[in-house]
Every structure is written in structure tokens, then in C-alpha cells.
């Protein structure tokens, strides 16, 4: 298995954790296995376009199946939705670029895809990373632990 297939499988295995608990518990490993098989077959048949297509399908399912179950959990909803949408934009851009390769000669002409990348994509990726960082901080963070731990600690300290 090549590096990016392994990376893709690793990312998908993380995304499985967003799905409803019963589906994840009963079929999580099978989902990851089917995704890996599908990705490898798509790579053999169509190369990068095949890989992009499999990812597009997987991310669409994250948006339509997994995230509606996370409506009440913004700490998961925000970063995963941002990641899925950004990755889908990136995939569409990649497929577009593969179908319309830029000509080597001539001056640089900005394309609509360049504008999307500059104005929408990278700021969105940054937003997603920030949201993820915030969610991780708040999960491990001081507010929750203080609320839970402080009373006993205060009693221990005799305050």
C-alpha cells in the first residue's frame, strides 16, 4: 500500500468516529476496510481522479449521514464540516486541473479556481484548523477539569 493510500485510510478511520455510535461499533472496522479496498481499486483503474472520486463520495456521506447526528455537538460539527467541505472543494479543483492542464507557455492568467483557492479555500482550511484546535483545547481544557476537580481540591487544601 502506498503512502497516500495509507494516509487516506488513516484519515477515514478517524472520520468513522463521527458516525452514530451503533453504526461505528457494529460496522466501523468494516467501513474502513471497504473504503481502503475501494480506494485501492479506484487508484488502479483511474489513478488520481479515481481516488478523488472515492474521497468525494466518502465526504458527501460524512455531510449527509454523520453530521446530522452531531447537530447538538458543535465541537465535532464545526471542524468536521469545515474539513469535509474544504476537502471537497480541493477535490473538485484537483479534478478540474487534471481535466484542464495549464499550458506551459505564455503569461500567467488567473483562473476562477485560483480565486476560489485564495479567497475561500485556504482561509477555510485555517478556520477548520482553528476550530479543531479550540475543540481539542476545550475537551482537555481547564474549564471542565476545574469545574470537576476544584471542589475536592479546595477541600483538601482546607479552603
Amino acid at each position: 500500500m502506498t503512502g497516500y493510500l495509507r494516509l487516506s485510510s488513516w484519515i477515514y478511520a478517524r472520520l468513522v468516529s463521527v458516525y452514530p455510535e451503533d453504526l461505528r461499533r457494529d460496522f466501523g472496522a468494516d467501513m474502513a476496510l471497504v473504503f481502503a479496498d475501494d480506494l485501492a481499486a479506484a487508484r488502479r483503474a483511474e489513478g488520481l481522479i479515481g481516488i478523488t472520486h472515492v474521497w468525494w463520495c466518502a465526504l458527501r456521506e460524512v455531510l449527509t449521514i454523520a453530521l446530522p447526528c452531531q447537530r447538538t455537538n458543535p465541537r465535532i460539527l464545526v471542524p468536521v464540516a469545515s474539513f469535509a467541505v474544504n476537502a471537497m472543494i480541493l477535490g473538485a479543483e484537483l479534478v478540474f486541473a487534471l481535466h484542464h492542464p495549464p499550458s506551459g507557455a505564455g503569461p500567467y492568467k488567473p483562473l476562477l479556481t485560483d480565486a476560489i483557492r485564495t479567497v475561500v479555500l485556504w482561509p477555510s482550511v485555517a478556520t477548520a484548523l482553528i476550530a479543531l484546535a479550540i475543540s481539542r483545547t476545550s475537551t482537555r481544557g481547564s474549564i471542565t477539569s476545574l469545574q470537576l476537580v476544584s471542589p475536592s481540591r479546595e477541600r483538601q487544601r482546607g479552603l
Binding site: D22, F27, D30, M31, V34, V54, A58, V62, A66
Partner: protein, 113 residues
């Protein structure tokens, strides 16, 4: 025969259809469903297993031991009699719709001429 809710959702229909010819594991079902729909029906792992979960709950398919030399990581599924009846009902419904649409086209052709 128990009453079947028709039409079946596309994912359920293609999974039952894919299992009609024999036991299959998840990825084989996925491939067969695509083949049966001429790649028109794109299904991913989450849709596949969400539907498999529902079909198991409604007793339309059941888990079955795989072949002896099969991949031990994979789970195999088999169509039950309830599932086969549901698939047959859906195919009969589709056939009737096709018959009706053909009859209507004939009528349209007659009226336009």
C-alpha cells in the same frame, strides 16, 4: 408473505439485488451494486453499512459464515426469504411500471399521429 413497504429505497434495492445470486461481503456487495446499476448508483461505505444495518434489523438479510479460505476480516451476508420476497415484490412493481409507461408511450404516439 409479510407486507413489504414499496418502493424500496435505492440502496436497499441494490444491496438485495446484489445478494440475489449468492453470499457476499461488504465490498463485493458494493461492486455488484455498481455493476447492476451500470455505475449510475454511487454508494459509499457509510450508506452501504447503514443500509445493511437496517436490512439486518428487518430480517431481510442475515450474517453468514464466509468461505473457508475467505478473508477472516470480512463478514458475509445472505438474502433471507423475507428479503427475497421484498426484492421480488419490488421487481414486479418495476415491471408493472415499465409496462404502464410503454402503454402510455404507445397512446402518446397514437394521439400525436
Amino acid at each position: 408473505m409479510s407486507k413489504v413497504d414499496l418502493p424500496l429505497p435505492p440502496a436497499a434495492f441494490f444491496i438485495l439485488f446484489a445478494l440475489a445470486e449468492g453470499d457476499k461481503h461488504g465490498y463485493a456487495i458494493l461492486q455488484e451494486a455498481r455493476k447492476l446499476s451500470d455505475n449510475a448508483f454511487q454508494i459509499g461505505p457509510a450508506t452501504l453499512y447503514t443500509t445493511i444495518q437496517r436490512l439486518l434489523e428487518s430480517n431481510r438479510i442475515k450474517e453468514t459464515p464466509g468461505p473457508e479460505r475467505g478473508d477472516s476480516r470480512r463478514r458475509y451476508y445472505r438474502l433471507t426469504s423475507v428479503g427475497r420476497a421484498a426484492l421480488n415484490s419490488e421487481l414486479v412493481r418495476m415491471e408493472a411500471m415499465v409496462r404502464k409507461s410503454k402503454a402510455m408511450r404507445l397512446r402518446f404516439a397514437e394521439s400525436s399521429s
